[in-house]
């Protein structure tokens, strides 16, 4: 991305400014990093009530088979992701990964079965590349559209359901990873029960022209506070969720990244449609033999946060390197620093003591189970 190109704006840009947000460049967009309440309060409010996030910078893609059959769309997409898409029922959503020929991760995404088409949500920083990748490999058999006329918001936290139920009573019947279409304030929206915080919550795709109106009305609810990218990052980190570009990228495989759960049986060795995605040979071999390193949770023992990029060692003198921190910060709900990163296989057991190099010191940090907070998904 050219850092000198003008920043793009989401349909909620004016709303952010009116709410007093501090704006920063992120993935080519001018985005709110925090509002006047600040990262700490925004984080805690999301876990105790409900937080509203603008994630309109993310890519929303419609994938429709030229045959018109959803099965053909699913099988086409399976050529690019190690995910059971064919087995995804109508009205359901599933996490997925685009892999490259090395079995490494090009992006992570959400895949929803919308009945006659698939609806994908991909990362902002990857959306042009993802769309070109889809066009190149699936363009002959599928029609693809990268939507530029829809906003995407997330409402997350224990009060999210009650807030939305005032607008659409049936929201309570949705389970985690259900997707449905419903009118909010008479605006047709696509709603999924999912998110990036570890909390119960919803992600809502709204036509751009109505996005500010719908969002303002949700924000009028006393339980709802706008949340910036700062708290979005600390929330997802406590929840143990990967950030593409930090924790997963084109140097990590799904097995390295401890994302085996995102590859259903049908695509694994011995499955009905085993392999058949880029880099399958590498990934399936790692499934059997293991990888040389693995993503783990890391809990710093002191008060000092340990940030992404910090090298990890087996010893307090920094002699035996064992890995690297990929994301780290302070967890406001955990009330201690939290991190994740990669360690070699000898150091992956929970409770293993390792040392992170921070400003020339070697700080004790313990391999710990993810997530750092208990998710409250409504399964």
């Amino acid at each position: 991305m050219n850092e000198h190109s003008p920043l793009k704006q989401t349909p909620l840009h004016a709303l952010h400014l009116s709410l007093g947000a501090r704006m920063v460049p992120f993935a080519g967009y001018d985005m709110p990093v925090q509002y006047p309440a600040g990262v700490m309060k925004e984080h805690l409010h999301t876990r105790s009530a409900a937080g509203l996030f603008d994630v309109s910078h993310m890519g929303q893609v419609i994938l429709r088979a030229k045959s018109g059959r959803i099965e053909d769309a699913a099988l086409a997409l399976e050529q690019l992701v190690p995910v059971d898409v064919l087995g995804l029922a109508e009205g359901r959503q599933r996490y997925g990964l685009f892999t490259n020929d090395d079995g490494c991760i090009l992006d992570d995404l959400m895949i929803a079965n919308r009945g006659d088409h698939l609806f994908l949500v991909v990362n902002a920083s990857c959306k042009e590349a993802d769309f070109a990748h889809l066009q190149k490999h699936l363009g002959k058999t599928c029609d693809l559209t990268l939507l530029d006329d829809r906003a995407l918001i997330a409402l997350q936290g224990p009060r999210a359901e009650a807030v939305l139920a005032e607008l659409w009573a049936d929201i309570a019947t949705m389970r985690f990873m259900d997707v449905a279409e419903a009118a909010l304030h008479d605006v047709p929206c696509i709603i999924s029960r999912s998110g990036y915080t570890g909390e119960d919550g919803f992600e809502i795709s709204i036509p751009a022209a109505s996005a500010e109106d719908v969002t303002r009305r949700i924000l009028e609810h006393p339980d709802v506070m706008p949340i910036g990218l700062g708290a979005r990052d600390s929330l997802r980190l406590e929840a143990g969720l990967c950030l593409y570009g930090n924790d997963i990228d084109t140097t990590t495989t799904p097995v390295d990244a401890a994302l085996e759960w995102a590859m259903q049986k049908a695509r694994r060795t011995g499955g009905a449609r085993q392999g058949g995605f880029p880099g399958a040979e590498v990934v399936l071999r790692q499934f059997t033999d293991g990888a040389s390193r693995r993503r783990v949770g890391l809990k710093p023992e002191g008060k000092a946060p340990v940030r992404g990029g910090a090298p990890l060692f087996a010893d307090a003198e920094g002699k035996v390197p064992v890995g690297t921190v990929t994301s780290g910060g302070f967890g406001p709900s955990a009330d201690h620093p939290v991190a994740m990163g990669y360690v070699d296989t000898a150091h992956t057991a929970n409770g293993t003591p390792v040392f992170a190099e921070v400003r020339g010191k070697y700080l004790p940090i313990t391999v710990s189970a993810l997530p750092f907070v208990t998710p409250t998904y409504k399964r």
Binding site: V39, M40, G329
Partner: protein
């Protein structure tokens, strides 16, 4: 005498000792602090050297030594409760006291009016 730096530190100078902290503007920009690391008493620091580190939820930032000198006291209260820096940056949230090698060097720093112009 109250002085400021363009790195957003304030210095309250009494004799040859400066009490140093970060400005309200800097504290606001950093956001909620969760960790502060301060230099030990007796540490000699040159102007521009890293004297302290502060961390918000999101990021770490260095606090630089505003003048040549020796640390004579650090504020343990902000180590124990970093939020003091956000709530009272130019009072209880002071960082350290610096015995100045050359007190006259402080004359070259910004006065309050010049600092306010800098952040305007």
């Amino acid at each position: 005498m109250l002085k400021f730096t363009d790195e957003h530190e304030w210095l309250k100078i009494e004799g040859d000792v400066a009490t140093v902290g970060i400005t309200a503007h800097a504290a606001e920009q950093l956001g909620d602090l969760v960790f502060v690391e301060l230099p030990e008493s007796g540490t000699a620091l040159d102007k521009g050297a890293t004297a302290a580190t502060v961390e918000s939820v999101k990021a770490a930032s260095d606090v630089y030594c505003p003048l040549d000198g020796e640390i004579v006291e650090s504020n343990q209260a902000i180590v124990d409760d970093p939020s003091l820096v956000n709530s009272d940056p130019q009072g209880a949230g002071w960082f350290f006291k610096l015995k100045l090698s050359d007190p006259s060097a402080a004359n070259a720093l910004l006065d309050e009016a010049a600092y306010k112009e800098l952040i305007a």
